[in-house]
Amino acid sequence: MKSQSFIVKDVYIDAIGIVVSKKEKDGPLGKYFKNYIDDYYFKCQTFEKAQVKLAKSAISKALAKSMYNIDDIEIALGGDLSNQIFSSTKAVNEEFFPFVGLYAACASGILGIIIACLYINATSFNNALIFTSSHLCVSERQFRFPNEYASLIKETTTTTVTGACALILSTIPKKIKITKATIGKIVDIMSTNVNDMGTAMAYAAIDTFITHLENNKETCDDYDLIVTGDLGFFGKNVFMEELLNKNYQIENKYIDCGDSIYDKEKQKTASGGSGPACVMCVTFSYIINQMQKLKYKKVLVIATGALHSQISYQQKESIPCIAHGIVLEVNI
């Protein structure tokens, strides 16, 4: 069975709330991020609490811009990288809406959008809240080494983006709509190198990209821009090369969120950004901004995730990767 694509009817992006840290603000896309925090603690005692607060503030920013009140939200979907997606659960513990926790590593946010679209299409309800967050120090601590430990950063390592993104989908027509979605399948290239997840995830992205075009009987020319999640500098090159070998002409209309969020040389972020907030923050700030200016009209966003755990790589298991795609279009 191949990856499945489906058409989404009448789902529009109502409001977006994004909060990032100083590091992302200083990056090349800094001017698109309006809200940012100065330090990683965010006036909390621990980094975990800071991540919860990030998610909470992103949700409140989205709700402030939205036409819905917090009581009107019919379902919330969220996911992050912390153990047992605790940060997402904790972020909505005082609210009264139903909540679904998701885990697809760095693709959690996009998976949330896909499921929200399915939910809205299948039921009579008409809004959904999707949020995701990630924190550099929390993920560093969970997946790698303690923060202050002097582990040598490899060139292929990615830096987790600190930030949170919340968005509200609704059935009431707005400028940007979601038209198609593809749920990807697990691709495992048998790589056990956790310092180079970009290359491993690139093959999952390629698989989802090709199946998405095949299922919808489209070509690259139908899209103005192709966005991948967090392949980083190395994964991006693999993605480009492999697709050019297969005769997909994507050179001039492809960007990678992880590669573009940081200035690789100045900020010393090795291969680029990663984390669930990476693809969400870049797509729903920079790319949405360009779409509103009508620079891009149809954009394919492929979020990738490396689904390994801390134990699995210590036991030398390979990294299974996944990629989910959505299509954003300008509503004319």
Binding site: Q45, T46, F47, E48, R141, F145, P146, N147, E148, Y149, A150, S151, L152, I153, K154, E155, T156, I189, M190, S191, T192, N193, N195, D196, G198, T199, A200, Y203, F234, V238, K268, K316, S318
Partner: protein, 163 residues
């Protein structure tokens, strides 16, 4: 036979399971260090520098303050550990290690850094489950195999001493 298989798996395991030659090359090449000679030189330089500084401190204690050799050696180590500890607490150590590489990680400063970093990390979980138990999470293996190799060497020393 099993020993051979085990060794084979640990040495070549990572690369053997890749079936596609092209993907295999790509995964291998991406992880490769490009500035090996530069890093090697920097590590040598900084490692040597710390050696000279250590020796200077040792001479100060031994010749100027007139302490005996054992005490001077211990005090030199303590000074280095303290410096690494303070640097870690202020968040300078890991940035400095990106420049000095093995030059700062292999001496006792690396050991001090891993203990301090783990302890700092455990602070949020409290005194017992946090600082107390997590402090040795990284250096635990160094301690364990240090003791194991000491036992093995002790046995060899004992057997050699019999003849």
């Amino acid at each position: 036979m099993y020993v051979f298989l085990f060794l084979y798996h640990t040495i070549f395991g990572d690369f053997m399971i890749l079936n596609n030659q092209k993907i295999k090359d790509k995964v291998k090449n991406n992880g490769q260090e490009k500035h090996k000679i530069k890093n090697f030189f920097l590590a040598f330089l900084f490692g040597g520098l710390f050696g000279i500084v250590g020796q200077a401190i040792f001479y100060i204690f031994n010749l100027i303050i007139n302490l005996n050799e054992d005490l001077a050696t211990i005090l030199t180590s303590i000074i280095f550990v303290s410096i690494a500890f303070i640097m870690t607490c202020f968040g300078i150590f890991d940035k400095f290690a990106q420049i000095a590489h093995a030059g700062i990680l292999i001496p006792i400063t690396g050991f001090a850094n891993s203990i301090t970093a783990s302890a700092l990390e455990g602070k949020a979980e409290g005194m017992i489950y946090g600082i107390g138990s997590k402090m040795f999470s990284l250096v635990g293996s160094v301690c364990t195999y240090g003791i194991v190799s000491a036992i093995i060497l002790g046995i060899i020393y004992f057997i050699v001493g019999l003849f």
